[in-house]
Symmetry: C2
Subunit: 320 residues, 2 copies
DNA sequence: ATGAAAGCGCTAACAT
DNA sequence: ATGTTAGCGCTTTCAT
């Protein structure tokens, strides 16, 4: 910057002001300096600026799970949420620092002004660990798993109710839930499902603690069928992929879907509509979720108040 | 740090050394300072350190496409590559700054020591734009699209050959390729396919310029079938999702897969093995690709030499 | 409309 | 084994 100042025949501070588009500097000088900077490939040292301004202009997005080939299919939400987060943060001139939960330690927290947590973890483990960092935090998930921190998430309980209503309308009386209820979001859906089923005179006959993949969905139902202890005529799965696995297990066993057993998924992933039978599912708006996460975190960072927000979900009726 | 120095009764520099685990400071003093720091919640100001050290300890990962709900399914590679990248960079104490290509401008390049580009863009647009930034760059894609910059990618031409060999072994003579060859990777696959087909006495009858989704795959084949201008008995698709779409269009039209038309996909996404018929496809090792990308960029950043690397691919034979 | 001085928190170089 | 000095590149405050 000093070099540029010498070149332009002005002082450093005028360069600084000009590049930030300050009104204080003469428009002509400003343009001259800007083009000079471009021409010489000058780039602002953001470490210096951040040191001076006592901020980082950066937000960490912490992904609870280890990214892998298997996960993006089973849980597309990280990238979808990131789209919304990125859009909002970029327009506020903040950058996104991406890291996996297990890489995070309080000592070497990277230089960020706040943290967005994607996934609160089994038994809220992630939420609890993040809170110790002493920076503003907003997490994606369930209110019950927020432990006092700000939460943005879908109305999972309502999702469960919608699934129950759909199954009830098809005359189903005995429903199986597939999902690990140690995750707050998953538990909320189960609660909503159970309450609405019982209000409609039906029963939640089983709540199976499985994983999030096609295979775990298929295996859960295979086990259930071979045990033969329960009769069931409906399934609500914690994700579309799990629902697809469940359907595969059913059709492999000669059980008709939706004739014998109706299935409702969650997420409305692109594949849901292409699967045979096309999946009835609950849709959540990840992109908007991302926007909200970013907006609320920025509020906190700037010392303003912000509140948790739960977004509506929709039932998408197809053929399962 | 000055406060901590006062508390510990030593000078700032001793604090600095102790926290970095320097040998120069007495082990006892070192531990005392470390626990004092922990106790008082002291955190190093990384902007100051980076300013002083003239580095950023950060690498930008630039994703060529806008993340969305549709993309992670169609192209799972961003997250899979990120897994490998993250693993490698974290152990070198570098952070990952994530951004979308369209958010990148030379003026406001965030404070990074280098850039990893995921996806070189149609007609290598992304590669060309990134090169102007004047920082070390490594990109995921094809050598032909590197424009002099370092590239890590799968052996796409070999992938095309493997697909051709598979189709030839099934006695196929007239093959359709589904993919936008303005992307270097996609073009390489097409070239490998064509060469090997012709060497085996078969023909590439059509090369259809489509997108990367289930729907574009289905539409391409529907159009082809209704035009009726070409007879074909084999398809090689640029992704598993496109292959699935193509298969759907075929079976919807009463064409048997693989009896009438055999189909080979690309990527070996988790869904490939669950699709009916299970997809024959080419597998690439994204995680390892991510590791290599990160390693090579770090070499460049540290002023060492590094070379492009093309990774082997495998044919996974299933039922399509 | 422009400038001079001071200092953000850290560490390398050079003492002691 | 520890300390002193100086300066990384920027912007705020207070002149002019």
């Amino acid at each position: 910057m000093a070099d540029l100042a010498a070149l332009a025949g002005v002082s450093k501070i005028t360069i600084s002001r000009a590049l930030r588009g300050s009104e204080a500097v003469h428009p002509e000088t400003r343009e001259r300096i800007k083009s000079l900077a471009r021409e010489h490939g000058y780039r602002l040292n953001l470490s210096a600026r951040n040191l001076r301004l006592q901020r980082n202009a950066m937000v960490a997005v912490v992904v609870e799970m280890q990214p892998s080939v298997e996960r993006p299919m089973s849980e597309p939400y990280p990238l979808a949420l990131l789209g919304g987060i990125s859009q909002e943060l970029t327009s506020a001139e903040y950058s996104i620092l991406l890291m996996a939960m297990h890489e995070l330690s309080p000592e070497r927290l990277p230089p960020v002004d706040g943290v967005i947590l994607l996934g609160q973890g089994e038994a809220d483990e992630a939420t609890v660990r993040i809170r110790e960092l002493g920076v503003p935090v907003v997490s994606w998930g369930a209110l019950r798993s927020g432990h006092g921190s700000l939460v943005v998430g879908s109305d999972n309980a309502r999702g469960g109710e919608l699934a129950a209503e759909r199954l009830l309308s098809l005359g189903r009386r005995r429903v199986v839930y597939l999902g690990n209820t140690r995750f707050g979001e998953i538990a909320d859906r189960c609660d909503g499902l159970k309450a609405r089923l019982e209000a409609g005179g039906a029963t939640l006959v089983e709540c199976l603690d499985g994983g999030f993949t096609f295979l775990t969905g298929a295996n859960a139902i295979r086990t259930l069928l071979s045990a033969g202890t329960h009769h069931f005529d409906g399934i609500f799965a914690c994700s579309d992929l799990v629902a697809m696995g469940a359907i595969r297990a059913l059709t492999d066993a000669g059980v008709d879907v939706p004739g014998d057993v109706a299935v409702v998924g969650f997420d409305d992933t692109p594949m849901a509509s292409y699967f045979v039978p096309a999946l009835t599912t609950i849709r959540q708006d990840w992109h908007h979720g991302g926007l909200l996460l970013a907006r609320k975190l920025l509020s906190l960072v700037q010392g303003e108040a912000a509140q948790s927000e739960i977004m509506p979900v929709n039932l998408i009726v197809r053929s399962s």
